[in-house]
């Protein structure tokens, strides 16, 4: 049996503070990066049977 998938812990103290700080201001990806992400999505989606 493989290692179980680890559960995400409740964040407290320093971990909570760092998480909130890191997500206060979000830098969006550039148009070029977004296009690449979309292209990769479409490439896999085109192979999907769901």
């Amino acid at each position: 049996m493989a290692k179980p998938i680890k559960e995400t812990p409740f964040l407290r103290g320093k971990d909570a503070k760092k998480f909130v700080e890191d997500n206060k201001s979000i830098q969006k990806v550039s148009k070029e990066e977004l296009k690449e992400i979309n292209d990769n999505y479409e490439a896999l989606k085109s192979l999907a049977d769901f």
Binding site: A2, I5, A48
Partner: protein, 172 residues
């Protein structure tokens, strides 16, 4: 190639990513996770082999509320019984496992799966989802960092896997 959902009766084609534990998850555990409604696994296959697989499960990121109105509670939060602190929660999807066949590594497939996940759970999602989390094997941490993921906690520094997250607002 074909991307399909693993079902209970799926005949899993040969796969070897070079990691015994990741191989073991696919062949020994993925169907149990499916049947227990804990995770759904997707298979990228060709005529003969499993090229890659990845498993999704619902997740959430919760943290102590650090807002101004809760400064007092924040200070005494550690004194409260667990679960009684004010907190904030965000819906997430977890990539529980991701493996690429040895012969197909270093071809950009891992990035393609991550990018697929980013769009699938923002633009094509049926429910709200703000974060992708991943239970990353230590060797894969640099890969996920390159994909924009950050470590969630310092408590798993010495563990075999590290919990990481990606904020989907970045691409929304």
């Amino acid at each position: 190639m074909r991307l399909s959902r693993l079902e209970s009766d799926t005949d899993i084609k040969p796969f070897d990513c070079g990691d015994t534990d990741l191989n073991g998850f696919l062949f020994d555990d993925a169907k149990d996770y499916l049947n227990s409604l804990l995770a759904v696994t997707y298979l990228l296959t060709d005529e003969e082999n499993t090229i890659a697989y990845f498993s999704y499960q619902n997740d959430k990121i919760s943290h102590q509320d650090l807002g101004n109105r809760d400064k007092f509670l924040q200070r005494i939060g550690s004194l409260l019984p667990k679960g009684k602190e004010n907190h904030s929660s965000y819906p997430a999807v977890k990539i529980g496992r991701l493996g690429i066949n040895r012969n197909n590594q270093r071809q950009g497939l891992g990035k393609r799966v991550i990018d697929f996940t980013k769009i699938y759970f923002t633009k094509k999602n049926k429910t709200g989802c703000k974060f992708i989390t991943v239970d990353a094997y230590k060797d894969s941490v640099p890969f996920y960092e390159k994909m924009g993921f950050k470590c969630l906690t310092s408590r798993d520094l010495k563990s075999d896997t590290r919990l990481m997250y990606f904020n989907l607002e970045i691409i929304n």
